[in-house]
Amino acid sequence: MNFGAYGGDHGASQFGGGGFMASPAPGHGNQYGGGGGGGGKSKNAQSLRAFTIRHLLKETASADDDSFRADGHDIGTVTVVGRVTHFQEQATRVSLQVNDGTGSVEVTSWLDGQDTPGQKRLDWQVGRYVRVYGNLKLFDRKPSITGFCVKAITDHNEVTYHFLQAVMQHLHLTKGAPPQGAPAPAPGMGMAGPAKTPGGYGAPAAGGYGAPFAAAPAARGGDLHSDLKAVFNLPHALNAPNGLSVEQAIAELQRMGRNVSAAEVMAACEFLAAEGVVYSTCNDTTFKSTGS
């Protein structure tokens, strides 16, 4: 299940392969925060951030015009997920009140005469969960979202996912990216299966951070793929010019307490290579992480 694909690449999705590359520190440009300080507004307007409504309203409470900032970064496009608590359709626009349990915000969506694909007004019933993409605006000094896309949520895991994403983006912008190439041994962060413990931020359990691979289902062999990926992302494996041979990878896996056959590891390496996580170097049985 790939929620990163909802509405295209909306950044910071370790599940969607959206190229969530670690930026060196807060304040540097990245996909959803724009550059802090003197960054050009036009660039910031391209960013997209997931918010809890409370966080959004809190951070923007002191704004007196339409230039909002949160976590020290300009806000461009925002996405919130919540239940529709009020719905009013007028000739040219629809107003919704959306409540996500943390707060409530008004969303105005202008109608252009026809429903666009994936966006059906019929789905915006009171009591249903929707995901809103839009821009934050002040109307009568009250913040509201001008939504350019409102979609009904059909899989409730997306609600959980949204809040986790909001926390992750907040952390990324306030504390900086986790170290690049951090091993990712935590299984189950993918949406497909039940989550184990996601672990603390920045801990080794950050889970497929920045990798295009995490959305792939754990096929046969359990979590061999993610373990193997972690092995190829070990510092010494990243630093070695040719990466690791399959034999070395097996040795690393054994050190992690996994006993797997060479054939299984070879198959897993080929799988990771097909996914773009690793590539073969000096020969067909030596692989190196693409560093993503």
Binding site: K58, G101, H156, Y161, P194
Partner: protein, 106 residues
Amino acid sequence: MEDPSPRVNFETMQRYHGRKVILCGQITSIENGCVRLQTADKGEVTVTGGSAPYEGRFVEVLGTVSSPNTIQELEHVNLNDNFSLEMFNELVKLSHKDAYIGMFST
């Protein structure tokens, strides 16, 4: 800003007596309009006062905590069978950590 309705599990529900919360759980039985749920942290919660039908295995209940293991329902949302209670539980734990509670409540 209006009062939040925090997402809770059995453990964190105890902090919100008399307040509105959002609880996700797995339906274990339905009798006489009382729905019994098991939460992700293995608590048993009885939901009273629901009017709309319950469907599927999982449900999200918005309601008021009326006793340590009872919620008076205001509304509920039926969830897909692939809903991950475990992940919801992780979110609940995260959203009650001091560092992030400001994003969710208070």
